[in-house]
Assembly symmetry: C2
Homo-oligomer: 252 residues x 2
Amino acid sequence: METSLSLERTEPEAPAKSGMQGDEAAAGGTLTATLYDRLRAEILEGRMTPGAKLRLEELRGRYGVSLSPLREALSRLVAEGIVVAESQRGFTVAPVSRAMFADVIRLRTTLESMALRDSIERGGDEWEVGVVAALHRLKKVESLRSAEEGSQPWEHLHREFHLALVGACDSPLLLQFCATLRDLNDRYRRLFLANYVLDRNVATEHQSIADAALARDAERAVTLLGEHIQRTARNVFMVLEKQAAGAVSHSA
Amino acid sequence: METSLSLERTEPEAPAKSGMQGDEAAAGGTLTATLYDRLRAEILEGRMTPGAKLRLEELRGRYGVSLSPLREALSRLVAEGIVVAESQRGFTVAPVSRAMFADVIRLRTTLESMALRDSIERGGDEWEVGVVAALHRLKKVESLRSAEEGSQPWEHLHREFHLALVGACDSPLLLQFCATLRDLNDRYRRLFLANYVLDRNVATEHQSIADAALARDAERAVTLLGEHIQRTARNVFMVLEKQAAGAVSHSA
DNA sequence: TTCACTAATATTATCGATTTTTTATTGACA
DNA sequence: TGTCAATAAAAAATCGATAATATTAGTGAA
């Protein structure tokens, strides 16, 4: 119930972040940055139980580092709302809730629509190329079937596609907000739709959105994007409601 | 040029934050939280030169603490985009730019309008009371004249007023985004309009916005709020443009 | 049995010192 | 005089240890 969103961007130190979730921690940087990337990915990819205690000693052992960089990485995640800090009581993985998810979906739909509209309006050739390319790569992976929705490569390309769509939006801030919301959205999807069997043709949806966008039909593109987001959300809600309150996830 | 916004909220450890900027670090908590509050306030209140290097040794001396809590506090600010970290090169105060400010203003206007609309729609008695009370307190301070715009108490009450306006919006996330944007906005105002002589009746503007909101005239309220934000922004832009590129600020 | 209190244990928060990397300085060489 | 390289100084990142705080276990009284 309490998440903060941070919005960073392309900051020098933490090379990964939103853009490249799959890609493991970029070496070379500081230990803090590496840990930040790894922890962030673990939580956002649904590999950590919401609300779970983050024992420092355990993490220290697991990653083979000292407390300092560990606490620094956690501090960043706290500011992002992905981790919660309680005075004198350490850190815990941010909890999940129906209300929070509903909020995320609502805002994401609104903001990403704004960004998409803007992008369609000012997008040039490079933008069009980017969208087409991203869609192509995504479709390729989907056709392979070796990777169903939720697989690492699919996740990455799916993110890239949505990124490409709004790529021509000229508000860095808005794009950051969108990225944050998408991250939060995806966390829920991965947590609650882990082994989910597709009941619809997601690929077709992406195709339609891209088509509308490239045809500069903002109205239609925004509508389709909204439906796209809502559909997945609906499925998450169903699972979410089946599980009384707690967050029944996987590993710890 | 690159800011991240964080959005936190009412997190247990850092009691202050957006809500109570003036109020110094709440004791009792951890050292990290205290430092976070102090540094955040210093930067946001315009007391630190944008882009300035944050020498750890110096800060350590100034606050009489060790590196650990200091670095943790800075890490949080990094995630918020208020401080920039460069790998192996330490921390610097986030820079300012015309483009960034323009982005902040644009998004703030949009998002705060959304929040205000929502608030007007669902606000109940308590909300109305809150708005009236906040406006009253603000007017009182303004009439005192002992404190012109920019004074500590004025800053606080001004923030409270804007907060009260959108108080009935039921999207915590949206409110956090708004708070973040308001913080960034205010940073520019304080940096560039430090000793600014009012050329307009800000008090009247607040009154009008409140009136429209309480009359449930969302359209009018949103319009007035937008103009209110734009007017101050215009003044900031003027100063901003007079100063070639650099940020000519005060201390530090 | 349950509550309150104290002792023991575990965990976190902070510190001081060490290692690593960057930045500044100096001097050789063209 | 200017450039480059080697070195010295400064700064940042990381570590291991200590102090502070919370949690658990245990004991005795109601």
